[in-house]
């Protein structure tokens, strides 16, 4: 193993640099060192101008989110040796989807702005406040427990593929917070929240790419919380939009033939009454038909009745 590791670090100081550049440093490699230790080594001994945030160095304060070799991480809990298993050098950039202030420091306003939009506090019954605690069963606590472990580091926003192309998207952290509040057994505003979250930029705009689940340094699994919000919305039968119709008809069509009918699902999702929407899809449909991508007869599996029997049993057990 080499005695030094190369750290290739994104540099940008708005006061002196017209554009960002990468600077390489050689960091003495010792066992058990984290990427943050490496940055501190550079800052203390080689280059006092290198700028980044950090504090607790134990993955609880959420300060040191950065992009390391393409994906967002808390650098305090990332071992250099772990990076070197997959890469020859450690490449560090500021988090994506945020404005860079200097070097690895980004402007987090966007994170807090999105958080602000989801009413990030519990709305409980304020008229009947007990003298002691409000009761909550261990099972109800477990529903919100993992989502409560969010440290607001922002790495999920940094790797969010929907946010990258749609700045309106509320993003994984805010939606996870919304879930934590909506799913709390003590809350009294679940329906209002679910309605609000079904609007543009809400739960139905998640592309389900699992980036946030993969990079979350805690137990939040933000995308899973977004899926649970969808489930809660469907269960409450509150909303009729493309998102809800897509899920409902998907299930229905699978149970219908065992194989998802790809011709009917888009039509049912858009809605037959949405003429503009139907017309909008027509050219693509036509192109597909001409290329033989639209089978005339929909295939089905042999034991469709068995699927329906299973669905019935699942339904009954609820």
């Amino acid at each position: 193993m080499a005695e030094h590791t190369t750290f290739k670090v994104f540099r940008y100081n708005p006061e002196t640099d017209s554009k960002p550049y990468f600077q390489s440093y050689q960091v003495p490699l010792q066992g058990g060192k984290t990427v943050l230790d490496g940055l501190n080594e550079i800052k203390g001994q080689q280059d006092g101008t290198l700028t980044y945030r950090m504090s607790c160095r134990s993955a609880i304060c959420g300060s040191c989110g950065m992009v390391v070799n393409g994906h967002s991480k808390l650098v305090c809990r990332l071992q250099i040796a772990e990076v070197l298993k997959n890469f020859d050098e450690v490449v560090i950039e500021p988090m994506r989807n945020f404005e860079v202030i200097r070097d690895l420091v980004v402007n987090m306003d966007r994170f807090w702005d999105k958080m602000d939009k989801v009413t990030p506090w519990l709305v409980a019954d304020e008229e009947n406040v007990p003298a002691t605690e409000r009761l909550q069963s261990p099972a109800d606590f477990n529903v919100i427990r993992d989502a409560s472990s969010c440290i607001m580091c922002g790495v999920c926003l940094s790797d969010c593929t929907s946010l990258e192309v749609d700045s309106n998207f509320l993003g994984p952290a805010a939606l996870a917070k919304a879930f934590r509040m909506a799913a709390d057994s003590r809350s009294v505003d679940r329906e209002e929240r679910l309605l609000e979250l079904s609007k543009e930029g809400g739960v139905w705009d998640c592309a389900r790419c699992y980036e946030c689940v993969q990079v979350c340094p805690k137990y939040v699994a933000p995308m899973e919380t977004i899926m649970k919000l969808r489930e809660m919305t469907l269960k409450a039968d509150l909303v009729d939009n493309r998102g809800t119709r897509h899920v409902e008809h998907f299930t229905e069509l699978v149970l219908d033939s065992g194989i998802l009918d790809e011709r009917r699902l888009p039509m049912k999702t858009v809605g037959l009454t949405d003429l503009k929407g139907m017309l909008h899809m027509a050219p693509t449909g036509l192109r597909m038909m001409l290329k033989g991508k639209m089978p005339l007869i929909h295939p089905h599996i042999k034991d469709v009745d068995e699927l329906q029997r299973i669905a019935h049993k699942v339904e009954e057990s609820k």
């Binding site: 006061e15 006092g48 602000d116």
Partner: protein, 569 residues
């Protein structure tokens, strides 16, 4: 210049509680100034729980038992009126947090669960898995957002404006823009936390440099009981990263190299659940006598017998920390740990209303308050019990907010002194132009290493004298430092230098306070004076800044219900 009625410095539990109380009736303009985003505050790293004698787990528990445990745990240096106040206020605080929306582990009947902790004779720690501090910090922050309290995040307070025993505000540096501004306020509350970064092995964040203490000290305010530094028994070997005492609360064993549960020699009844000072000393003694694991400066904590399910339910972070930082699987392996600098029992002296009181006659600095770890109302005395810190931060933070608000409503509107920010400007200009050859990182490393070696778990006169010379030498070399970053935008090197200058200031107070105190009490353990000496030392230390260094005075301990007796566990 910025003007607010109340300025709270620091955004941890104490700071946010203070701001929420001060702004509660909507009459006052309250602002929080913090060098980090509120959710980055180190309160969030507290793991195991928050003490509160609500008796959910054991109906026999009550505030008086809690108070006794606290007084005994603090080796009778506790001001008992303060401990009584805190323990009585605990249920109100906890229920209020719960009503705000805090998540807590629950009993089957839906009430909050409670676990055992070191030095507490009843299971009274309410908890959220092993991230209790995190849960409270984020809940308070949610209410800060809800209440729209003004927060100046990433503003570094450089000095406190005090003239004629009256506080006029603070001077703060906007890290993002590199601009120095004066904050005029009728009342200022310091909730700036502790200083674990004076030590090499510490559970504390990089931000825990105790700035608030030395800012107050430089403004003419004494520091109380600074020689009492708590070493937490379970810091991860090598880094000192905190491994919750909750692990022992759940039944973890401490083992030496012979696989022996050595606590039976030191606290035969309470075993691993002895108070922190005793357990940390036991570990250090095992290590010093050659029974560290494989000859290294660590012993083992063993949670394997708790089983995977209980670990995942109640100690999930322990598992992650062991894995992430030591590559160990705590389901099947022991975790090497060592005492780690954790908490400052001492700090800015305050009375029961969190008003800063600078002598034994009750002389106040009008408009200046402190709460939480940076303060010393002395609920912890010579040694803090686990889970009492979160309680103190919340309870005393709330009291500070209420008293400061009351004062601010009636305080006269004073004109600011003309020279309010002169010293701060000079300090920053000097640092930005420091072109010497000495590296701040080297000074910091040397301070931390030597404090660990010579002002650590055990101390002797020879060690402390040596350490005093080291600190004086470091202070001198600080005059020859060189900084390379002259930028106004997010200049973290400048901050590092400011923080180091504070560390060097109060390290001297710690060392000299420890040298003076020729007894062993709580977290202060002198090998050359191994016994507690109530006849001479049942008193609080006060250190005042003078031209040549600290000047020491003492004040009596408030004793109400419990007379000092021998401490056994």
């Amino acid at each position: 210049m910025r003007v607010h009625d109340v300025v709270v410095v620091g955004s941890g539990l104490a700071g946010m509680e203070a701001a929420l109380r001060a702004s509660q009736d909507g009459e006052l303009d309250v602002a929080i100034v913090s060098k980090v985003f509120p959710t980055r505050s180190h309160s969030g790293a507290a793991q195991g729980g928050i003490a509160c004698a609500i008796g959910n787990q054991d109906p026999e528990d009550n505030w008086e038992v809690h108070m006794f445990d606290t007084v005994k745990g603090g080796d009778y240096l506790v001001d008992q009126d303060a401990a009584e106040l805190m323990c009585k206020k605990a249920p109100e605080i906890i229920y209020e947090l719960e009503h705000m929306g805090l998540v807590f582990n629950r009993l089957p009947d839906g009430r909050m669960a409670q676990r055992s902790f070191g030095g507490h004779s009843k299971p009274r720690a309410c908890f959220a898995a092993d991230w209790t501090g995190h849960a409270i910090l984020h809940t308070l922050f949610e209410i800060v957002l809800k209440r729209k309290v003004k927060v100046y995040s990433e503003w570094y307070v450089t000095s406190l404006i005090v003239r004629d025993h009256t506080c006029h505000g603070v001077v703060a540096y906007d890290i993002m823009r590199g601009a120095l501004e004066v904050f005029k306020a009728r009342a200022v509350i310091f909730c700036t936390g502790g200083y674990g970064r004076a030590y090499k092995i510490t559970s504390n964040a990089h931000a825990n440099t105790g700035d608030g203490l030395s800012i107050a000290y430089r403004a003419g305010i004494p520091l109380e009981d600074m020689e009492f530094v708590q070493f937490h028994p379970t810091g991860l070997y090598g880094s000192g990263i905190l491994l919750t005492e909750g692990a022992r609360g759940e039944g973890a064993y401490l083992l030496n190299n012979d696989g022996e549960r050595f606590m039976k020699k030191y606290a035969p009844e309470r075993m691993e659940l002895g108070p922190r000072d005793i357990v940390a000393r036991a570990e250090q003694q095992e290590i010093d006598e050659g029974r560290g694991i494989n000859g290294k400066t660590c012993v083992n904590v063993d949670i394997r017998h708790l089983g995977k399910e209980r670990i995942m339910e109640r100690l999930p972070q322990v598992r992650d920390l062991a894995w992430d930082f030591l590559g160990l699987d705590c389901f099947s392996e022991c975790i090497p740990i060592q005492p780690t600098a954790h908490y400052s029992m001492g700090g800015i002296p305050v009375n029961l209303d969190c008003e800063c009181v600078i002598d034994d006659k009750g002389t106040k600095i009008d408009g200046f308050y402190a709460a939480g770890e940076c303060s010393c109302v002395s609920v912890h005395g010579a040694n803090r019990l686990g889970t009492n810190s979160l309680l103190e931060a919340c309870a005393m933070g709330a009291i500070a907010g209420t008293s400061a608000a009351k004062y601010a409503k009636s305080a006269p509107d004073l004109s600011l002194p003309d020279d309010a920010d002169v010293e701060a400007k000079r300090e920053i200009d000097w640092l930005l132009n420091a072109r010497g050859s000495v590296k701040i990182a080297d000074l910091g490393d040397e301070l931390q290493r030597t404090m660990m070696d010579d002002c650590g778990v055990f101390r002797t006169e020879a060690q402390l004298k040596r350490q005093y010379d080291v600190v004086k030498n470091l202070q001198q070399r600080f005059q020859s430092i060189g900084l390379s970053d002259r930028s106004k935008t997010f200049n973290t090197e400048l901050l590092g230098a400011l923080e180091l200058s504070h560390l060097l200031d109060f390290a001297e107070v710690i060392v000299l306070g420890a040298l003076n105190r020729t007894e062993s009490r709580g977290g202060h353990s002198r090998k050359d004076h191994p016994k507690r000496d109530d006849a001479n030392w049942l008193k609080h230390t006060l250190a005042y800044k003078d031209v040549d260094g600290p000047r020491f005075a003492y004040k009596p301990v408030t004793i109400t219900r419990f007379q000092p007796q021998e401490r056994k566990y």
